[in-house]
Symmetry: C2
Subunit: 128 residues, 2 copies
């Protein structure tokens, strides 16, 4: 499979579901253009395209919370990706393990899904 065979949308983007390769939790839904996908394949770390800032971003470049890529899957329509990663820290800019930490149906599940919760607590404890 060549990445040229994937279907990028009219903005040149493809949706990328980022999933923890071990816990299987969905961490983030982000977007890649062809260049960021190629960088992801080459470096085995996640690179995305920011629709708001209109630029490439290397996840973890500022925070240090990079994501090591173990596999990339594409769907039957070849217009969406699942990127399996081993995260080195929280996926979310809000500091949570996953960006999907709130339930629309009113159930809070963060406590059960936050792999880094104990580390965050430890960090807070040390800092105070």
């Amino acid at each position: 499979m060549n990445i040229d065979e994937l279907t990028f949308d009219e903005q040149g983007l493809i949706a990328a579901v980022v999933q923890d390769a071990v816990s299987k939790e969905v961490l983030t839904l982000a977007y890649m253009n062809k260049e960021s996908l190629q960088k992801t394949i080459d470096t085995k770390e996640t690179w995305f395209y920011s629709r708001s800032r209109q630029e490439l971003w290397h996840k973890g470049e500022t925070s240090g919370h990079t994501q090591q890529v173990t596999d990339i899957r594409y769907d039957c329509d070849q217009d969406a990706l699942v990127v399996l990663v081993v995260p080195s820290g929280p996926a979310c800019h809000e500091g949570t393990y996953s960006c999907f930490s709130h339930s629309l149906l009113g159930e809070k599940k963060e406590g059960r899904t936050d792999r880094f919760r104990i580390l965050n607590l430890l960090e807070e404890t040390i800092a105070t």
Copy 2:
């Protein structure tokens, strides 16, 4: 959280990552408009908006392979959903458990992730 607080795009859609609540495999990336999300919440089965057919679709209406919703999560930007489901059959119109059954990096993982593989094999054996 009210669904009116979610951010739908200029087409009135929000991306919905459908994930098996038990195996945690990502099954499909689909899109919902406000009406299909409300139907999903009300019926506890997945309803999507087909961008190609420009109409609502109730997953499993034709195939019988409905998806029972156990939770819906939204992300930090409130512009993407993870819908946790218990599927009653393959998610993919190609008959596979997940739409993401091919690896871009050349690794085939279908055998390990296809919950229904043994049933498909059994069906094929009985049919031949």
